[in-house]
Symmetry: C2
Subunit: 162 residues, 2 copies
DNA sequence: GCCAACTTTTAGAATAGGTCTAATTCTCAC
DNA sequence: GTGAGAATTAGACCTATTCTAAAAGTTGGC
């Protein structure tokens, strides 16, 4: 667990956006890194309280917004329902399993993103591309996409894409 | 205006899903066809009331759900906020202009959809692919994508994709 | 080290966008 | 025309936020 390293990178990223690093923001971020299952704000709140029982729900919303603003976390909205949060900054799509309701990340190559962007007519300039699959995962080979990574990953710079 | 033709196709589609055609459902559907700007349920409600002042908001929600269920309309959720409705059944992506807040349809070819699907690992079977662009439209050439079509279009069968 | 200005956290009230309920109305098959 | 099921309606209710105002923490200038 090198959460202090992540904490340093986090405070740097926050500072870049004119925001301060606070214990609450660090705990919220670490909770997102520890179980990368696209939790809702309520779920984050529940997990954070095991470490910091006095935090308020409003603060969890504030922290999540700060993390989105400084671009270490992405907010995702599949269908109607609560917003979900994702600390994976690599270009990736989301696969939504309609049976289990779970969501998996699917890595995307820059070349695919270029191909997708190529469908835009001239004059349309996309700063981001979001791709959502919906469907079913066959009982075989579901291990191809790990959805829980307890090891913290280095924060990457390639934020804007995907 | 050949809305009676659309009405026939609509009642057929509804029947296929075990639903009845009703005046309310027809008016809601025609409102979606008349201004294809991805309105919210509230906006649909406001438009429908000019033609049918006694309709209730709950009925508008019911009708929209029926139309989604029988696959003549798609429900779309960009970010958090109200669900928007889209009667365009051709495979298409959405381009969300971050300045104006408006959303434009972008046609997709089957081959691009195949390329996108190809990023999925074996065992992941997507029944639908949704693509959302966010960005800006340059003041030049915005006419490439019409966003309002008053002429009713024939309903197509290619529902599942995109 | 101390203070004014600013940022952040917090609890609780308020809001937006739906969803549910129960009563009425409608429609179709007989 | 009658009974069963489907659809509509008004209004209550619910969920996921967002807002508000007060308290607590942090920071640069002295």
């Amino acid at each position: 667990m090198r959460s202090d390293l992540n904490t340093d990178v986090l405070s740097q990223k926050l500072a870049n956006s004119g925001l301060r690093s606070t214990p609450q923001r660090e705990v919220v971020y670490n909770v997102l890194l520890q179980k990368r299952d696209h939790p809702t704000a309520d779920e984050v709140y529940a997990r954070v309280r095991t470490e910091m029982p006095t935090i308020s729900l409003a603060t969890v919303y504030n922290c999540l917004e700060a993390l989105v603003q400084c671009e270490v976390v992405r907010a995702v909205n599949f269908e109607r329902g609560p917003t979900r949060y994702c600390p994976n900054l690599k270009p990736h799509a989301h696969f939504h399993d309609e049976k289990s309701g779970e969501t998996y990340d699917v890595d995307l190559t820059p070349s695919l993103l270029d191909q997708v962007r190529a469908v835009l007519p001239p004059g349309y300039d996309a700063s981001s591309v979001e791709i959502i699959f919906r469907g079913a995962v066959k009982p075989s080979a579901p291990a191809a996409i790990p959805r829980t990574e307890s090891a913290a990953m280095p924060i990457r710079a390639n934020v804007g894409a995907a």
